[in-house]
C-alpha cells in the first residue's frame, strides 16, 4: 500500500516539477526608453520587449547576495557587468537586429530575455 502511495506521489511530484518550471508563461514588458530590472532570485521583469534601432537603458538593481547573480551577461550585446549589491548599474543597448536575445547571470543559471521587434 505504502509503495503505491509513494509511486503516485512521486509521479505527481515529477509532473508538478515539469509544470512548475517548464510550463510557466513569460510576462513580457514593453520598454520604450528605460527599465529597472530587479535581480533577486532571477530577473523581474524577466522578459522585456524593445524596438529595433532604439537605444534603451536597462538598470539592473541586485538585491540578491547570491554570488551566482553578481554578474549579468548580455552576450549578444557584448556586455558583462558586475552588479554590486543594491546599486543601480545601467547598461545601454541599441539593438540593430530583431529577434529574441537571452541574457543570463555569470554562471548561466538564471535567464532573461530581450525581444527586439
Amino acid at each position: 500500500m505504502d509503495k503505491i502511495i509513494v509511486t503516485i506521489m512521486g509521479l505527481l511530484g515529477i509532473a508538478f516539477t515539469y509544470w512548475f518550471f517548464f510550463m510557466k508563461k513569460e510576462k513580457e514588458v514593453a520598454v520604450s526608453d528605460s527599465v529597472d530590472i530587479i535581480v533577486d532570485g532571477g530577473y523581474s521583469p524577466e522578459v522585456i520587449s524593445i524596438m529595433k534601432g532604439k537605444t534603451i537603458k536597462i538598470n539592473f538593481i541586485r538585491h540578491d547576495p547570491n554570488s551566482c547573480l553578481e554578474e549579468v551577461v548580455l552576450s549578444d550585446f557584448k556586455i558583462r557587468k558586475y552588479l554590486p549589491l543594491n546599486q543601480k548599474i545601467t547598461v545601454e543597448i541599441t539593438p540593430q537586429k530583431s529577434g529574441e536575445f537571452q541574457y543570463s547571470c555569470g554562471m548561466n543559471m538564471f535567464h532573461g530575455k530581450i525581444i527586439v521587434k
Binding site: 515529477i14 515539469y18 517548464f22 526608453d33 532570485g41
Partner: protein, 745 residues
C-alpha cells in the same frame, strides 16, 4: 522618463559653490531636481532622460567653472573589491564553523568512529543543536536564493542543495525527537545531521575557493586599469602643477620627467626620450620618440624629459579603448557555448525529477531498509549534480584567453573570433603597410627621353602632389629633398589601379603602371629589360609619359618589416598557407614574396577586388584570415572569417577587424592563432569535464552500479565531488595563464 543620477564634481570648495551649481543644473531644460552636497562633492540630479543627456549636465556644470564627472565607472573598482573581500571573509567564517560543527557530529555518529567520541556527542538532541545553526545560519544563503528563485519559477544549484540538505535535516529531526516511531516501522533510528552539515560546509568551502579562483580570471582588466597614471604635471599659465588625471583637458601641455608614467595620449612638442610601451603593446624594446611623435598614456618614460600636448583623455585614450574592447570580448559568447547553454537551462528541473524517480525506485525495489536507501540516494543525486561547472566552462577560459591576448598586444574583439581563429587554414597578407613598412622610397630614376632626372621628377611630383596614394608620397618626398618646385596641375585625374594624369605647364602628362601606358598606347619596348630588372628586385616601376612620349621610369621600393620573415615562417610552421595580396605587378610581387618565403601571390589586384579574392579562397573551402592595416582594406577584412588589423597610432577601434595587433609585430598573427588553439583546448577540456562529470556521476548517485557492484555514492562524497568540479573548471581555465603562447622554436 524620470532618471536619477549622482556624480562627482571637481573644483568645489565653499558653500556658495553649492548654490551656484544647483542653480546652473536646475536651469537645464528637463532637470526636475538638483542637489549638490559639499561634504561629498557630489551632485544628485533628477531629470527627464528624453530631454537631458550627460553632456547637458556636464556643460551646465562647466558653465559655472566646475567639472562634472558623469562617467565614473573605473572608480567603482575599489568598492567592488572591498565588497568582494567582505563576502569572502563572511564565507570563510561560515565554512570554518560549519565544518567544525559538522566534524563533531560526524565523530559522534559515524559507525566505527562514534565509539571513540564523548557520550554527549552521540546524543541525537545534541547533534540537533549543533546542526541547526549550520542548516539555517551558514546555509541561509542557499535558502534565500532558493526562495527567490522559486518565486520566478526557476531553480538553480542552491535549490538542489536546499532540497537535499533539508530532507536530510528534517528526517534527522524526526528521528532525534521521535526515535521510537521510526523504530516501530522497522528502521534503525539513525539521524543524518552529519550529512546535512558537512554537505553545507563543503559546498561553502567550494564556493570560497571558486570565488578566489574566479577573481583571477578577470585579472587582466584589473591590471589594465591599474596601469593608469594617477596624476599629471601640467603647465598652465606658465606654472607647473600636479593635478589628478581626470582633471586633464585636451590641449593641456604636460611635462614628463625620466622614470614617470605618461598620463594621457598626446603629441610631443619639445624634448625627446626613450619610452617603454611594453605594458600597452607587448613590445619589449623601448621606442625612441621625439618632437611630433605620439605618446600613449600609461606607458613609461625611461631616460629623457619632454613636454607633450594632450590629444586624447578619459574614455578616448588608447588604454581606455583597450579596456573597453577587452571588457566587450569578455562579455561576448563563443558559439561552442551554445550546447552548454541549452543544457543548463533545463538541467536543474530535470535533476529534481530524477531525484524523485530515484526515491520512488529505491523505495519500491530497493533492499531493506528501503526508506534509508531511497533517502540517501535521493540526496546524493541532488547534491552531485553540478550545473555551475557547465556554466563556467567556456566564459572563464574566454576571459583568461582574451586577457592574455591583451597582455601581448593582441586585442580580440569577441569570443567568436577567438574561437574561429584556431580553424584558420589560409592567411592573406596585404603587402603595403602590412608586410612592408608602408613608407616607400624612390630608388631609381631612369631617363628615356630628353628630360633631365630632376625635370622628370619635378613633373611627376607636381602631378602626385594631389594624389593620396602611398607611392605618390615617396615621389613628393624625393622632390622635396631635392628642393624642387611644384607646378600647378590642371585637369587632375586619378584612375585607381592605373595611376594619375593631368596637365602641367601646358604638357599632357601621366604617371602610372604598365596598364596605364597600354591604355594610352605608349610603347614600352625599348625599356622592357630595364623594367624587368627593377621588378625582379622587388621594386615598383612607374612610367612617366609626357605628351605621348615615355620620359622616365621611376622605381619605388618599400622596406619589408623586420618581423615579416619570422611572422610568415611561424605561420607556415603551424601548417597555415600564407598568401600575399597586392596591387603590384606580378614580377615585383613575386620578388618580394620570395624574400619572405611566401609561395602564393595574388598580384595586380585592384583595391576593390581584394574582397572578391578573399571570397575566392573561401570558396576553396578554407577558413581565411586577412591581415591588413584596416584602412583601405576594410571590406576584405570584414569578408574574411577573421579580419586582423595592424593597429595604427593611438586608434585601436578598427571596426572591420576581429583582432587588432597593437604591437604591429607580424609574429603576433601566429601568437594569436596559438592563443586561440590553447583557449579552445581548455574550453573543450572544461566542457568534457563538466558534462562528463554530470553524465557519469548522476547515474552512479541514482544507484546504477548497485545491481552489479553494490556501489552507491555517499552524499558526503557527492558534495566533495560537486565542490571540486566547479573549482577544477576554473583552475583549468587559469592554467591558460601559465601556458606559453610564445612562438614556436
Amino acid at each position: 522618463m524620470e532618471t536619477r543620477k549622482t556624480f562627482s564634481i571637481k573644483g568645489m570648495h565653499c558653500a556658495s559653490c553649492v548654490n551656484l551649481l544647483e542653480g546652473a543644473l536646475r536651469k537645464v531644460d528637463g532637470v526636475l531636481k538638483a542637489n549638490v552636497n559639499l561634504a561629498t562633492n557630489k551632485a544628485t540630479v533628477i531629470y527627464n532622460s528624453q530631454k537631458v543627456t550627460d553632456k547637458h549636465l556636464e556643460s551646465a556644470v562647466a558653465s559655472v567653472g566646475y567639472q562634472a564627472m558623469t562617467n565614473e565607472e573605473l572608480k567603482s573598482e575599489d568598492e567592488e573589491k572591498a565588497e568582494k573581500q567582505k563576502e569572502l571573509r563572511d564565507l570563510k567564517v561560515k565554512v570554518i564553523v560549519s565544518l567544525f560543527l559538522g566534524a563533531l557530529i560526524l565523530w559522534g555518529s559515524f559507525p566505527g568512529l562514534m565509539n571513540t567520541a564523548p557520550k554527549i556527542l552521540q546524543n541525537f538532541l545534541v547533534q540537533l543543536l549543533l546542526a541547526t545553526p549550520v542548516q539555517f545560519w551558514a546555509g541561509w544563503s542557499f535558502y534565500r536564493a532558493t526562495i527567490s528563485a522559486l518565486r520566478h519559477r526557476t531553480a538553480n544549484m542552491d535549490t538542489l542543495v536546499v532540497i537535499g540538505t533539508t530532507v536530510a535535516y528534517f528526517y534527522s529531526v524526526f528521528v532525534a525527537i521521535l526515535p521510537q516511531v521510526v523504530e516501530s516501522i522497522g528502521i534503525e533510528p539513525m539521524p543524518y545531521f552529519d550529512v546535512a552539515t558537512i554537505i553545507i560546509g563543503l559546498i561553502l568551502l567550494g564556493r570560497y575557493f571558486e570565488a578566489k579562483a574566479k577573481a583571477g580570471t578577470s585579472e587582466a582588466i584589473k591590471k589594465l586599469i591599474g596601469l593608469q597614471a594617477k596624476t599629471a604635471r601640467v603647465i598652465r599659465n606658465g606654472k607647473e602643477i600636479d593635478i589628478l588625471i581626470n582633471e586633464v583637458i585636451i590641449d593641456d601641455i604636460i611635462r614628463v620627467r625620466p622614470g614617470e608614467k605618461i598620463p594621457v595620449d598626446g603629441v610631443i612638442i619639445e624634448g625627446e626620450s626613450s619610452i617603454d610601451e611594453s605594458m600597452i603593446t607587448g613590445e619589449s624594446m623601448p621606442v625612441d620618440k621625439t618632437k611630433g611623435d605620439t605618446v600613449v598614456g600609461a606607458t613609461m618614460n625611461k631616460t629623457g624629459s619632454f613636454t607633450f600636448r594632450a590629444t586624447k583623455i578619459g574614455q578616448e585614450t588608447m588604454l581606455a579603448q583597450i579596456i573597453k574592447l577587452v571588457q566587450e570580448a569578455q562579455g561576448s559568447k563563443a558559439p561552442i557555448q551554445r550546447l552548454a547553454d541549452l543544457v543548463s537551462s533545463y538541467f536543474v528541473p530535470i535533476v529534481l525529477m530524477l531525484a524523485i524517480l530515484t526515491f520512488v525506485v529505491w523505495y519500491n525495489f530497493g533492499p531493506s531498509p528501503a526508506l534509508t536507501f531511497a533517502l540517501l540516494n535521493t540526496i546524493a543525486v541532488l547534491i552531485i549534480a553540478c550545473p555551475c561547472a557547465m556554466g563556467l566552462a567556456t566564459p572563464t577560459a574566454i576571459m583568461v584567453g582574451t586577457g592574455r591576448g591583451a597582455e601581448h598586444g593582441i586585442l580580440i574583439k569577441d569570443a567568436e573570433s577567438l574561437e574561429i581563429a584556431h580553424k584558420i587554414r589560409t592567411i592573406i597578407f596585404d603587402k603595403t603597410g602590412t608586410l612592408t613598412k608602408g613608407k616607400p622610397e624612390v630608388t631609381d630614376i631612369i631617363i628615356t627621353g630628353t628630360l633631365s632626372q630632376n625635370e622628370a621628377l619635378q613633373l611627376a611630383a607636381s602631378l602626385e602632389k594631389g594624389s593620396e596614394h602611398s607611392l605618390a608620397e615617396s615621389i613628393v618626398n624625393k622632390a622635396e629633398s631635392k628642393n624642387l618646385r611644384f607646378d600647378k596641375v590642371e585637369k587632375f585625374q586619378a584612375i585607381p589601379g592605373y595611376g594619375v594624369g593631368g596637365f602641367v605647364l601646358g604638357k599632357k602628362i601621366s604617371l602610372g603602371n604598365r596598364k596605364l601606358m597600354e591604355k594610352e598606347k605608349v610603347s614600352l619596348k625599348t625599356v622592357q629589360a630595364d623594367i624587368e630588372k627593377l621588378e625582379n628586385d622587388g621594386k615598383t616601376v612607374m612610367m612617366l609619359q609626357v605628351d605621348g612620349q615615355l620620359s622616365a621610369l621611376i622605381a619605388v621600393a618599400d622596406t619589408l618589416k623586420e618581423s615579416a620573415f619570422q611572422g610568415v615562417k611561424q605561420l607556415q610552421k603551424l601548417g597555415i598557407e600564407v598568401v600575399m595580396i597586392t596591387g603590384d605587378n606580378r614580377r615585383t610581387a613575386n620578388a618580394i614574396a620570395q624574400k619572405i618565403g611566401i609561395k602564393r601571390v595574388l598580384a595586380e589586384v585592384l583595391p576593390n577586388q581584394k574582397e572578391a579574392e578573399v571570397r575566392k579562397i573561401q570558396a576553396e573551402g578554407k577558413i581565411v584570415a586577412m591581415v591588413g592595416d584596416g584602412i583601405n582594406d576594410a571590406p576584405a577584412l570584414a569578408t574574411a572569417n577573421v579580419g586582423i588589423a595592424m593597429g595604427s597610432g593611438t586608434d585601436i577601434a578598427i571596426e572591420a577587424a576581429n583582432i587588432t595587433l597593437i604591437n604591429k609585430d607580424l609574429r603576433s598573427v601566429a601568437v594569436a592563432i596559438i592563443l586561440s588553439k590553447k583557449t579552445m583546448r581548455t574550453i573543450r577540456l572544461n566542457l568534457f569535464w563538466a558534462f562528463g562529470y554530470n553524465i557519469i556521476l548522476i547515474p552512479v548517485a541514482m544507484g546504477a552500479l548497485y545491481p552489479f557492484f553494490e556501489i552507491l555514492l555517499n552524499p558526503i562524497f557527492a558534495s566533495v565531488a560537486m565542490a571540486t568540479s566547479s573549482i577544477s573548471v576554473v583552475l583549468n581555465s587559469l592554467l591558460l595563464k601559465k601556458k606559453t603562447i610564445g612562438l614556436l622554436p
